[in-house]
Symmetry: C2
Subunit: 230 residues, 2 copies
């Protein structure tokens, strides 16, 4: 915390691992960092975009997803405050056109580091390097899990599971999301989600209102998300 203050970068407090770094290389890189705010709904990366800066999120969340021509979408993962943007990385490192897109979900604070400085930090700060590699590896895990879910799990299980996560993340027994948004998380369509939600409601798990879902029975939902067909 005193670190964050000492370098004059308040946002650093969001990145404990990075705040602790004292290498010259990193401190140098820090001076090149520029803060910026993106309003909700900003498209951070579009398919095939190349990006010139390395991005780190200091506030808000960014949704990374794939989309089909037919307009369906599926979420791959979310990048929140204290995270770095792997998309930019992947773009830069692998040279591959990025397959995915990213959008801010709310007002998002980012710190941009120009590529040369990023590479400098990578080269010379082991702590920074480790932080980056760990994130990259974690994302790979995340996406692999998505493959597993999509391939082997029934949609209603995935939905129940998603609801569970959302309630938990919110630390509340209600979430404000439309069926449409849920569908976009799962790679399906609104009608399908509405149908399943209604079922869950009939089972007494949840209560539906416009734009909001209320958790009635955590146990029932949990039971659901584990084993449907048994």
């Amino acid at each position: 915390m005193s670190n964050a203050g000492s370098t004059g970068h308040k946002w650093l407090s969001v990145f404990p691992e990075l705040a602790a770094i004292q290498d010259d290389a990193w401190l140098e890189t820090l001076r090149a960092a520029r803060e910026m705010v993106m309003p909700a709904g900003t498209i951070v990366i579009r398919r095939g975009d190349a990006c010139q800066n390395f991005l780190m999120i200091t506030r808000g969340t960014v949704r990374v997803y794939e989309s089909s021509e037919s307009g369906r979408e599926i979420a791959l993962y979310r990048t929140g405050s204290g995270d770095i943007c792997i998309l930019t990385l992947s773009n830069l490192l692998a040279g591959t056109d990025y397959a995915a897109e990213a959008v801010t979900e709310d007002e998002v604070g980012v710190v941009m580091i120009p590529m040369p400085f990023f590479q400098n930090a990578m080269a010379r700060s082991e702590a920074f390097r480790n932080f980056i590699m760990a994130t990259l590896a974690r994302r790979l895990s995340d996406v692999m899990r998505v493959v597993e879910q999509v391939t082997f799990q029934r949609l209603d299980l995935r939905l129940a599971c998603l609801l569970g996560q959302l309630f938990e993340r919110n630390k509340s027994n209600a979430i404000s999301m439309t069926h449409e948004e849920l569908a976009r998380e799962l790679g399906t369509t609104r009608v399908v989600v509405s149908r399943m939600l209604k079922e869950f409601e009939n089972m007494g798990c949840i209560r539906l209102q416009r734009g909001q879902i209320e958790l009635l029975s955590p146990e029932a939902l949990a039971r659901l998300s584990r084993a449907e067909g048994e």
Copy 2:
């Protein structure tokens, strides 16, 4: 090539990027490398395994896949000669239990580098580091593409596409694979694949024999793998 000779590591010729590296750090790491051969069918990594060494493939291919309790499988990507094993990496970097499994498809040559030496090379050889990061990023792309395919593409398209790739990779108009194996690539079952293959045969794309598929009309197959529903 003279590099490979000069360090006495024949296998290095498989890794042009690495063979070119002259850093002391890397050469030091090289000395710690140990070669090893795994017969076909060796399980390189099982779910949740931790691994102590960093692996690079010098010969043969390793299939990385997810599997379900019901016995179905889906391929995530393949690691071939000249590639490094990201699984080990991810394990080590993210500390996450690995979600996937990996098996050798044929006789595979690997080079093992103990972790401390790997980290040494990472810390001190920029070229090595870039190589690693690029691979990691590429894998992420690969897996994202899988998500996209599985979520939005019909199975018959994916199958047609897979066949196309296999013929191409083989540089021949015949491949030796059972329907079962194809199913395992795509995350489905044998019966489904057999059915679709038969259709393709009826359309004049391919010819089926036991354990082998012959390409009759590349154009027809290509047409198929692009647009089915039109």
